[in-house]
Structure formats: structure tokens, C-alpha cells
């Protein structure tokens, strides 16, 4: 299945969009997970601190209790050495626990109860120690045997374990969340990476396929071009040969036609000379006869009127045919003429052409306006002079007699390194029915009040095409005609292409 340019662009765009989304998703997920990690990390730190404080509090109370029991059992003050320190530490850690857990929902009741228990426990220990120091051992022992100290410690232990367990749960949850985050990030990255790989792979495959197809197409086009160029070259050669043959044929035909025509004209003179001899003979015969002879009179009429008239027709027809043959030969010669590119200022060409018809232009009260905005051309000067000379000559010849002639020549550059020249007149114009044939050979239109053979525009068309250009015409009958000539700016390009 081949890939069209449109589907290639669409699929590549879609793949890039998916890849972008995947990348965006990875970035967003990374950011979100990072934020979550920060929150959980803070929670873990708080839980760790709360746990540490609870453990330290429990250890401090237990240390104080050990001191108390050692002193109660032995009465030795050395057991009380860590007692005050333990109590101080217990109270400090109790404050820490209160501070760390103050914001936790539901912890306030536990903290209040634990605070009361620790304070009661410390007070109970203080009381027994005081009794022992006062040597009131029995009272101290009795107080001890109430088990109140144990009961307080047992209950405090419930809260110690509760705090530690809650902190452990928070630590476990925090670590679990961090692991889940890492796992989530890993999976998302893997999935995103796979998506990106798939997208890149898909895009690469699409590009590869498209590139291969382009290369194949290029090769195919190359092959076709090579064949086409070869065929064009062959056809061009064939056409050139055919053209040469046609031109040679035209030349030969024209030459061959002219030869009998010369004979006809020559023999017409011979006939005319003979006719003069015959007339002299008739005159001598009539003088010899001395009287009117009807036969001689009829011969005299033929020789004096009918024969000169016939000879005149023959000569005018021969002249007409000669001019036609000359026109054909002119066209043929133009077709065979070698073009010579040179730097040409078109304005000079037009000015020169205008000067050539200045006399007729003056007689017509005409005026030529020139408006040029083109660079220097590289062209065949003679061909250009023939084109614009003919067009200007036509403008003068076919002017409208009821108004002064106005001719505008406008030239400008157009795309494709070409120029466009317009020759517009306010002449008699061309009827619509004649417009298609004005460029045909020997065709004339409109009033035939000017001498001509109908080869001017045909010649112009031939020359323009030889230069690689086009000529077109617009006209309004009675208002004027505009010829538009489009030519390459440099004839050399055309010639090198043709070569």
C-alpha cells in the first residue's frame, strides 16, 4: 500500500502528537509524583520524630521506675542517680509528643490521657521515694503493694504502644507510598517510553516507507525523464529534419514555380512582340488592299484591344503569383535563419521601428507612446525589429481615418524571467469573425484599402514562435486592437534548452 503525501503528513502529525502527549504525561506524572513524595517524605519525618519522642518518653519513665524500685528495695541513694534526669527527660518528651501530635485528628484524647498517666506515675514514684527517705518503709511498701504504680504503667504502656504503632503505621504507609510512587513512576515511564518508541518507530517506518516510495518514484521519474528527453531529442531531430525538408520543399517548390512563371512572363513579352509584328503586318495588308477588309478589321481589334487586355491579365496574375512565392520564400528563409542573441534594449528597437514609419505616422497625425519597465534583453535584434516593425506598420496601415492615430507600447517583466509587450492602437479594429484568422498566411480582414498580401501577422507569429514566445490579440471593431507579445528575457536559455 502506498502512502500519499497527505496521509504521510497526517499520520506523522498524529504520531508526533501522541509522542508529545506521552512525553507530556511523563513530565506531568513525574511532577505530580515528586510533589506526592515531598508530602509523604514530610509525613515520614514527622512520624519518625513522633515515634522517637514516644520511645524516649517510655524509656525515661521506665528508667525512673527502675530507679524508684532499686531505691525502695535497698534504700541506697545510688539507685536514684538517674531518677531526676529521667523525670526531666520524660517531661520534655511529653511536651514533644504533645507538640508533634497536636494536629493529628483524634490524638488529643490519647495525649491528654497519657499526660495524666505519666504525671500520676511520676507523682506516685515521688511519693514512695519520699516515704522511703523519711524511713516510713511500711507506708512506702503499702503504697507500692496497691499496684497503682503498675496499673499506671500498664495503662501508659497502652498509649506508648499506640503512639509507636501509629507512627510505625505512618512510616509504613509513607514508605509504601514512596514505593508505590516509584513503581508508578517506573511503570508510567516504561509505558510512556514504549509509547514514544512505538510513535518514533511508527514515524520512522512511515518516513522510511515514504522515503522509499519517493526514491522509487524519483527513480521512476528519472527513468521516464531519461526516456522522455531521449524521445524529445529524437522528435526534435525528426522535427528539425522535417522542418528542413519542408523548407527545402517550399524553397524548391517556390523556385520551381517561379521558373515557369518567369517563362510565362517572358513568353508574354514574346507574345506582345509578336502581337506588334502582327499589327504591323495587318497595317501593311490593309494598306496594300486599300480598302476595308472586315477580316483585317477584326484582327486589328483583337490585336489592339483583346490581346493587350489578355496579356495584361496574364502579367498581373504572374506578378501576383510571384509576390506570393516571394512571401513563402521569405517565411521559409526566416525559419532557417540562425538566431543571434545579443544584448538588446527593447526601447531602442521600438524607437527604431517607429522611426521607420515616421513619414506615414506624420501623415496620419499619429503618435506613439512608449512605457517600458524591463531590463536589458538578450535576444535576436533583427527578429525583434521585424516583430515590432510589422505591428507598428499594421497600426499605421489600418488606422481609423476619422481620428488621429494613437499607439501605446507598454513593456514589463513577468514571472518566469519573461517579458510582456503590448502594442495597442486606436485603429479600425478587427471584426470578431476575423480575429481567429488574422495570424493565418495570406488572410486579410476588414476593408482592403491597403496594399498587402496578408503575410505580415503570419510572419510575426512565425518569428515570435522562433523566439520561444507567444502572441495574442484583443480587438474591438471600430475602437482599436491590442497585440500582446510574451518573450523569454534571454534567448540564450531557449537556445541552450533546444540544444
Amino acid at each position: 500500500m502506498t502512502i500519499s503525501s497527505r496521509s504521510f503528513v497526517q499520520s506523522t502529525t498524529a504520531l508526533l502528537f501522541v509522542g508529545f502527549l506521552a512525553l507530556l504525561g511523563i513530565v506531568a506524572m513525574t511532577f505530580w509524583l515528586g510533589e506526592r513524595s515531598r508530602v509523604y517524605f514530610n509525613d515520614v519525618i514527622e512520624a519518625r520524630d513522633a515515634r522517637g519522642a514516644a520511645v524516649d518518653l517510655r524509656n525515661a519513665v521506665q528508667s525512673a521506675e527502675s530507679s524508684q524500685r532499686g531505691f525502695l528495695y535497698t534504700g541506697n541513694e545510688i539507685y536514684l542517680a538517674p531518677y531526676d534526669t529521667a523525670k526531666t527527660l520524660a517531661r520534655r518528651q511529653l511536651e514533644t509528643v504533645n507538640r508533634l501530635l497536636a494536629s493529628y485528628k483524634g490524638a488529643d484524647v490519647s495525649i491528654q490521657r497519657l499526660t495524666a498517666l505519666v504525671n500520676d506515675k511520676l507523682a506516685e514514684m515521688d511519693r514512695t521515694i519520699a516515704l522511703k527517705r523519711d524511713r516510713r518503709d511500711a507506708e512506702a511498701l503499702a503504697l507500692f503493694r496497691t499496684n497503682r504504680g503498675k496499673t499506671l504503667m500498664d495503662e501508659a504502656n497502652i498509649f506508648f504502644s499506640g503512639l509507636i504503632r501509629a507512627a510505625d503505621d505512618r512510616l509504613t504507609t509513607g514508605v509504601g507510598e514512596q514505593q508505590a510512587n516509584a513503581s508508578l513512576l517506573r511503570w508510567f515511564s516504561i509505558i510512556g517510553g514504549v509509547v514514544i518508541i512505538v510513535v518514533v518507530g511508527g514515524a520512522a517506518i512511515t518516513v522510511l516507507r515514504y522515503t522509499r516510495e519517493l526514491a522509487a518514484t524519483r527513480d521512476e521519474v528519472g527513468l521516464l525523464n531519461a526516456g522522455l528527453e531521449e524521445r524529445v531529442r529524437a522528435r526534435t531531430v525528426d522535427l528539425a529534419k522535417a522542418n528542413e525538408e519542408i523548407q527545402r520543399f517550399v524553397h524548391i517548390v517556390s523556385h520551381d514555380l517561379r521558373a515557369p512563371l518567369v517563362s510565362i512572363v517572358g513568353f508574354t513579352g514574346e507574345v506582345e512582340d509578336n502581337m506588334k509584328s502582327m499589327k504591323a503586318l495587318v497595317d501593311r495588308s490593309e494598306a496594300a488592299a486599300g480598302s476595308a477588309d472586315p477580316v483585317l478589321d477584326e484582327a486589328r481589334v483583337v490585336l489592339a484591344r483583346h490581346m493587350p487586355e489578355a496579356i495584361g491579365f496574364i502579367r498581373s496574375s504572374a506578378n501576383k503569383m510571384d509576390s506570393l512565392i516571394s512571401a513563402i520564400m521569405k517565411l521559409a528563409r526566416e525559419g532557417r535563419r540562425a538566431l543571434r542573441p545579443e544584448r538588446v534594449e527593447l526601447e531602442d528597437v521600438v524607437t527604431k521601428s517607429a522611426a521607420a514609419i515616421q513619414h506615414q505616422l506624420s501623415e496620419a497625425g499619429g503618435k506613439i507612446d512608449v512605457q517600458f519597465d524591463i531590463p536589458t534583453l538578450v535576444h535576436d535584434r533583427l527578429a525583434l525589429e521585424q516583430i515590432f516593425g510589422n505591428l507598428l506598420d499594421n497600426a499605421v496601415k489600418y488606422r481609423a481615418k476619422q481620428r488621429p492615430l494613437r499607439v501605446e507600447v507598454r513593456a514589463g517583466a513577468i514571472e518566469g524571467d519573461r517579458i510582456r509587450v503590448e502594442v495597442a492602437d486606436n485603429g479600425r479594429g478587427i471584426a470578431e469573425r476575423d480575429r481567429e484568422r488574422v495570424f493565418e498566411l495570406f488572410k486579410r480582414s476588414g476593408e482592403q484599402d491597403q496594399p498587402g498580401e496578408g503575410i505580415g501577422l503570419a510572419y510575426v507569429l512565425t518569428v515570435v514562435r522562433n523566439l520561444g514566445g507567444e502572441i495574442s490579440m484583443t480587438s474591438v471593431l471600430g475602437e482599436g486592437t491590442t497585440f500582446c507579445v510574451v518573450l523569454p528575457r534571454e534567448l540564450r536559455v531557449l537556445l541552450s534548452a533546444a540544444a
Partner: protein
């Protein structure tokens, strides 16, 4: 059914525990130093039967607690079975009255006396009079006695602890927050809780979040203690202790909305309310450890008759704890109602009773006069 409560009666007895006062004696002091008895030999040689004693079996009963009523039930059945005249003497928790009742029995030459002492120390003299007169004396826990009955506290706790451990491993996947409701006021019960801790200590996932003695040791105390525990620990999986306090804990769990069918609440004593919870099924209360007082009462009656016939009887006897669960409670109730069939079936009897030492009329000076326990190290 008859509920069997042992902790409190045994506690009351043991508070006044100790050898009988030798200064006031008119006969041998018995065995006063802790002694380990060999297992009872049922094939021991016969002795001379007491000649001048009445075939009377009397129960000097401290009060009409259900546990002691079970003893009374067993004794009555055995006396009827063996053709003894049975007398139930209620002391109404009056130790002096009880002493008078026992002295009266000694004076009347009663052949057998079973006592649940109101005050063991006070009653010892009266019981010794019976023994010195050749009569059979059996007491519930406290010496002196010809044949002394005790309950193995460690084993009792171990049965409960092992059941809890099995449940934790099986149903709770080895992880549990455990509350131990102890009884600091009765030191002799300490082995129960040692056994509970021993059963749980090797399960890594067990976390004993509370090890505390409710005060008072009753349902209200259990309720208050559990409420305190719930302040610090929102989720509790296992609660162990005496039935009364565990029932209080259950009430606290329910009040807090923290009771779950998969919890394991287990108690000791076979309290009727605990048994009712177990029989419901699907409640947190899964087990109660009970001591079958009709069974050992029946055995005591049989031993009294054997004594009067000159047979050798055990010097001491353990009433073994039975774990009541929804699965076995029907059979257990049937056994309590008909202890005779249990006694006559050796296998079933051995599941309730374990007997130690031998004594008969001819060796009656070797009566037990120390706080015996089969678990004493």
C-alpha cells in the same frame, strides 16, 4: 447448662491457702512439703475399709455459685450411684458456719466430706478432724485434703493461648493486635497469663498492645479498660482474659463500632453469657475455657465410695480445661448433664481429669497438706 467459674472461687480459697495449723492438731500433719505425685495407679492394693464411719457423703459448700452447684450435681449423682447418703451443707459464705458444719460431720462420723472452703485456713482444722477420724476429705484447691482438686492454671491459659495462636495464624494471616486482660489481684492466676504470652510470643506478627489488669475484674472493668485501649489503638484483633472482663471488652468494642466477626475474643471460666455468645455463632466471641465441675464432683463422689470400701484413690486430681467452641459445646453440655457416663468412659474421663498419687484408709496420714499443683516446678 451449668456454667463453671473457677477463678474467683479458687482465688478466695487460695488467699487463705497454706498448711493447716500443726499446733492444734490431734493427728498427723499430712504431707506439708511440696511433693510431686506419681500418676494415680488404679491397680494399687486395696486397704482396710473404715469400720465405723457412716456411709454419708456431705458437701460443705461455700455458696450456691453455679460452679459449685455443678460440683453438687456430680456428687449427688455419684452418691446415688454408690448408695451413699448425700448431704448438701451450704455455708452461705460464712466461714464459721462452714467450720461448724464440718465439725458436725466429723462428730457424726460422716464417711466422706467434700468442701469448697469459705476460708481454707479456718476450715482446715475441721477437715483434719474428719481425716483423722478416717474419713474421706476432698477439697476444691485448698489443702488439707485426702484427695485435693486443683486446676492447672498454666494449662488453662495455654489452651486459650494456643487456640488464639492457631486462629491468628490461620484466619488473621499471622498478624494481630492483642489485648491481654490480666488479673493482678489474684497472684495465683499469673500462670494463666504467662501461658497466654508463651503461646503468642513466637508469632512475629503478634503485637500485644495492652497487657493490663482491669479494675475491678468484672464486666464493667473490662468495658472501661477496653475503652481506654481503643483510645490508643483503633483496631483490635484479639482479646484474651477472664470471661467477665472479655465480655466487658466485647461490649466496649460494640459500643465503639469496632467489633468484627473475624476478631477473636476468648475467655476463661465458661460464663453463661460467654457461652451464649459462642452459641450465637458469627460473633467475635470464639472460645471460653471451662472446667467441668459436675465431672470432678462425680469423681469425688466415686472416690469417697471407693475410700469407704477400702480402695486406693488419687491423692490429687487436675480438672483439665476444656475449650468451648461452637463446634463442641453441645457435647460438653451433655457431659455436664451426665457426668456418670464420662466417668465410666476411660477416654472421656481422661480428657477431663488427670489423677496423681495413691492414698487409702491405711495410708491416710499421707494426706495433702500443702498447696499442690501439678504445674509446680
Amino acid at each position: 447448662m451449668r456454667s463453671i467459674r473457677l477463678a474467683v472461687p479458687l482465688a478466695a480459697i487460695l488467699l487463705a491457702n497454706g498448711p493447716a495449723d500443726s499446733m492444734a492438731q490431734n493427728g498427723p500433719p499430712g504431707i506439708t512439703t511440696p511433693t510431686v505425685f506419681a500418676p494415680f495407679d488404679a491397680g494399687a492394693p486395696r486397704c482396710t475399709p473404715p469400720a465405723d464411719l457412716q456411709k454419708v457423703l456431705a458437701f460443705a459448700q461455700d455458696n450456691q455459685r453455679e460452679f459449685m452447684q455443678g460440683v453438687h450435681h456430680g456428687l449427688a449423682l455419684a452418691a446415688r450411684k454408690r448408695g451413699l447418703e448425700y448431704r448438701q451443707l451450704l455455708a452461705d459464705s460464712d466461714d464459721a458456719k462452714q467450720l461448724e458444719q464440718v465439725r458436725g460431720l466429723a462428730a457424726a462420723k460422716a464417711g466422706g466430706v467434700v468442701a469448697s472452703p469459705v476460708n481454707a485456713a479456718n476450715l482446715a482444722a475441721g477437715l483434719q478432724q474428719v481425716m483423722w477420724g478416717g474419713g474421706y476429705v476432698s477439697t476444691v484447691v485448698a489443702p488439707p485434703a485426702t484427695s485435693l482438686l486443683n486446676a492447672p492454671q498454666y494449662l488453662t491459659g495455654k489452651v486459650l493461648g494456643d487456640a488464639a495462636a492457631a486462629y491468628i495464624k490461620g484466619r488473621l494471616r499471622g498478624k494481630a493486635k492483642v489485648v491481654l486482660l490480666t488479673q493482678d489481684s489474684l497472684e495465683f492466676l499469673t500462670p494463666r497469663f504467662v501461658a497466654l504470652r508463651d503461646s503468642l510470643k513466637d508469632i512475629p506478627g503478634v503485637n500485644i498492645v495492652a497487657d493490663i489488669s482491669p479494675n475491678p475484674v468484672n464486666k464493667d472493668g473490662g468495658f472501661a479498660t477496653m475503652r481506654t485501649v481503643l483510645l490508643a489503638h483503633s483496631d483490635i484483633d484479639v482479646v484474651l482474659g477472664a470471661d467477665t472482663v472479655v465480655l466487658g471488652a466485647l461490649a466496649a468494642l460494640r459500643a465503639a463500632g469496632k467489633a468484627r466477626p473475624d476478631q477473636f475474643l476468648g475467655g476463661i471460666d465458661g460464663e453463661p453469657e460467654a457461652v451464649a455468645e459462642i452459641k450465637k455463632g458469627g460473633t467475635p466471641y470464639k472460645i471460653s475455657i471451662s472446667l467441668a465441675s459436675p465431672v470432678f464432683g462425680y469423681a469425688m463422689g466415686q472416690h469417697a465410695a471407693d475410700w469407704l470400701e477400702g480402695k486406693s484413690i488419687p491423692q490429687a486430681m487436675d480438672i483439665l480445661p476444656t475449650a468451648l467452641t461452637v463446634a463442641n459445646i453441645g457435647q460438653y453440655e451433655a457431659d455436664l448433664a451426665d457426668p456418670a457416663s464420662v466417668y465410666e468412659d476411660g477416654r472421656r474421663r481422661n480428657s477431663y481429669l488427670r489423677m496423681y498419687g495413691n492414698i487409702c484408709y491405711d495410708t491416710r496420714d499421707q494426706y495433702v497438706n500443702f498447696p499442690w499443683s501439678s504445674e509446680r516446678k
